[in-house]
């Protein structure tokens, strides 16, 4: 092998190393995208997501000059013999005010089971202003057969909520827990 060719081989090896490094970086980037997306959603309210753990009460003064309607919607995903009802369909709050809404969970099935309510806020630009101090959606719930349980949602609408938004809908979808997908293969 001539010197030129040797040099060329070294250069090729260097290029390959660099491209592989780039490749590894992109793989890392892809993996990082998942948590980044969640953080991004929480910060911006993208896709109507709210924080997944309790937030502290915001200190801004209550804006008594403005009222916002908060509407609750509940839904059951397939597979959980529970009922979830919002005890109030809507509540009116002043931005900054700490408010409470109650939800009733009933297990109408024949055995102990667990479920989790997944929240979603619309319009999504309102999601980041929806602060939750206490919510059953932060963890999964267990109910005995026939058990009924009332659970509170303590929340606050941030006074920074954009002017145009005067109604927020919070939807809870109740999902069974501990079920892997592909469950239908088991008959």
């Amino acid at each position: 092998m001539s010197r030129d060719q040797q040099l060329q081989q070294q250069n090729v090896a260097r290029t390959v190393r660099r491209v592989l490094l780039g490749l590894v970086l992109m793989v890392g980037f892809t993996i990082a995208l998942v948590p980044l997306y969640d953080v991004f959603c929480e910060v911006t309210g993208l896709n109507g997501k709210t924080a997944s753990s309790a937030q502290v009460v915001g200190g801004a003064p209550v804006d008594t000059g403005r009222r916002v309607e908060v509407q609750f919607v509940t839904r059951n995903a397939p597979g959980l013999p529970w009922r979830l009802d919002a005890m109030e369909q809507t509540v009116w709050v002043h931005p900054g005010e700490v408010a409470l809404a109650r939800f009733a969970f009933v297990n109408v099935g024949q055995e102990l089971s667990s479920g989790r309510a997944v929240p979603s806020v619309s319009p999504s630009q309102g999601a980041r202003y929806f602060r939750k101090m206490e919510c059953f959606c932060f963890q999964e719930q267990w109910l005995e057969a026939g058990e009924r349980s009332e659970m509170p949602l303590v929340f606050q609408i941030d006074p920074d909520l954009p002017e145009g938004v005067n109604k927020l809908t919070l939807a809870y979808t109740l999902y069974p827990q501990g079920q892997a997908i592909g469950g239908y293969h088991e008959q």
Partner: protein, 552 residues
């Protein structure tokens, strides 16, 4: 202008023409014969041929599926196949055409032409080259075999949105994921090889800005591949985990988000659509100057336009997601960035036309396909600009209007460019010119067929026909009838292309000289036709002031 019709100094290549002997070619000396030779080959030309033949085979398999789809859509009603099978056909058609036909065809062209255009003896990593090719037949055998598995093959569209492709997918989905992984690895390895070749194996004195545009566009495409293929691999791995290991990346039940899937997919997907068009730009930029007998207008701006398209393609992905409920600011951002990407695309078209302007134009087969490319691709680009207008996209999205758009850029666009490349370089590959009569028939039937198929789709889409449906309202019947007739015409006329290729392979036809086309520039035309198996074992002479496409 230094005319290329002047014979240039013939490059030394006695060593390469001998099958055995010569130090440089020594490692090729004991080549196996027959089938095994093709299996084990590390020669860039043979691997290029394998890629091209594989792509052609996939083009026909995917095309047959498209015709099954068009047959069902020939008239309203459930007439021919069941909806479930229809979904498998549309999905497989898309996957095979994208990953099995168009991408491998471009890789095949790169394998053949990049080394000879930069004066290199082979690709930088010949054994890796062999491996990346053979991954493809394995991948697509697996993919096709899913059709025969219990529950059928993939039925969730080539964009495989979760949760239709996870929780609700057929059991064969894990095999689909495996197949996509293999195809992805093949693309990545191919891209590494191409980058290493272009950056290191150029003949002395050839700077980057002296490279033919086909090489430039492929260099940029290869970087796009390196950047986005890992994202595709990541997203299908997450699907695999969701399906088999109980994670919930894309499942709201476990705290995941189906929309995350779409963000990841399109972060890959939009650059992917440019992966399928940039090399086509390179091809057309080679052919148009040849037959206009005039140098490419704006070489530098072509390179910059290609690079800016590639960079912008990373920040437009959510234009595929205008209806998922993005916040207003995101909607505006992606609308503006998508509109912006049309500008460098326009620059390219203007440059080609400026090349034609005051040229000396003749209409050989490669030129015909390239001119048709320019017109038809521009139609697709213009409908792309319409789609970029987010409020209007609420009406266009997921209708046949979108189907018309992307088929215009991909079939009369990318596929026509590939056909143009084949007609352009077949004399170099085989030593004979493609049969003109067959070629002309092929060209005109293809142009008529492709436009008859896809132009009416603009109308059915605007009038309200959603895509991916096996049955439709009576009001869409006429347009669908036309599309089906056009589809069969286009499909069947591709058999003529096979005839052209077979004639060339068997050496039937007018013998081509080294300089096969009068106005052609580039190192490939200094090689005899057909190009010998080993070329440029000693680097050819390259004088930028005389040979560079960017010379003054």
């Amino acid at each position: 202008m230094t005319s290329r019709s002047l014979p240039r100094p013939v490059v030394q290549q006695s060593a390469s023409e001998a099958t055995a002997g010569g130090a440089a070619a020594g490692h090729h000396a004991h080549q196996p014969r027959g089938l095994l030779r093709w299996v084990l080959t590390t020669n860039h030309k043979e691997i290029g041929t394998l890629y091209l033949l594989f792509a052609l085979l996939m083009f026909f398999i995917g095309g047959t599926m498209a015709l099954v789809v068009r047959a069902e859509l020939f008239q309203p009603g459930m007439t021919f196949i069941l909806p479930e099978f229809f979904n498998q056909m549309t999905t497989m058609h898309g996957l095979i055409m994208v990953f099995g036909a168009i991408m491998p065809a471009f890789v095949g062209l790169a394998n053949w032409m990049v080394p000879v255009q930069i004066g290199a003896p082979d690709m930088a990593l010949p054994r890796l080259n062999n491996f990346s090719f053979w991954l493809l037949p394995v991948s697509f055998t697996i993919l096709l075999s899913t059709l025969f598995m219990e529950g059928g093959g993939p039925n969730f569209g080539w964009t495989f949105y979760a949760p239709l492709s996870t929780t609700y997918a057929p059991p064969s989905t894990s095999f689909f994921i495996l197949a996509m992984h293999l195809a992805g690895i093949s693309s990545i390895l191919g891209a590494i090889n191409i980058i290493a070749t272009i950056l290191n194996l150029r003949t002395p004195n050839m700077r980057l800005m002296d490279m033919p545009l086909f090489v430039w566009t492929w260099l940029i495409t290869a970087f796009l591949l390196i950047a986005v293929m890992p994202v595709l691999a990541g997203v299908i791995t997450m699907m695999l985990l969701d399906i088999n290991f109980g994670t919930s990346f894309f499942d709201a039940a476990g705290g995941g988000d189906p929309v995350l899937f779409q963000h990841l997919f399109w972060f890959f997907g939009h650059p992917e659509v440019y992966i399928m068009i940039l090399p086509a730009f390179g091809i057309v930029s080679a052919i148009v100057p040849t037959f206009a007998r005039k140098r490419l207008f704006g070489y530098a701006s072509m390179v910059y336009a290609t690079a800016s398209i590639a960079i912008l393609s990373f920040v437009v992905w959510a234009h595929h997601m205008f209806t998922v409920g993005l916040p207003l600011t995101a909607q505006l951002f992606f609308m503006y960035s998508t509109m912006l990407i049309a500008v460098p695309t326009g620059v390219k078209v203007f440059n080609w036309i400026a090349t034609l302007f005051r040229g000396s134009i003749s209409f050989e087969l490669p030129m015909l396909f390239s001119l048709a490319f320019i017109v038809q691709f521009t139609i697709g680009g213009l409908s792309g600009v319409m789609l970029a207008i987010a409020p209007a996209d609420f009406q266009y999205h997921d209708t046949y209007f979108v189907v018309a758009h992307f088929h215009y850029v991909l079939v009369p666009g990318a596929v026509f460019a590939i056909l143009a490349a084949a007609y352009y370089w077949l004399p170099k590959w085989s030593g004979v010119y493609p049969n003109v009569k067959l070629g002309l028939t092929h060209f005109w039937l293809s142009v008529i067929g492709v436009n008859l198929t896809f132009f009416p789709m603009h109308f059915s889409g605007l009038a309200g026909m959603p895509r991916r449906i096996p049955d439709y309202a009576l009001q869409f019947a006429d347009f669908n009838l036309l599309s089906s007739i056009g589809g069969f015409l286009f499909g069947i006329s591709q058999l003529l292309f096979v005839a052209v290729v077979i004639l060339c392979i068997r050496g039937k036809g007018e013998k081509a000289p080294a300089q096969a086309w009068e106005g052609a520039e580039g190192l490939e035309w200094t090689l005899p036709s057909p190009a010998p198996l080993h070329t440029f074992d000693t680097p050819p002479e390259f004088v930028p002031e005389r040979d560079s496409p960017s010379r003054h």
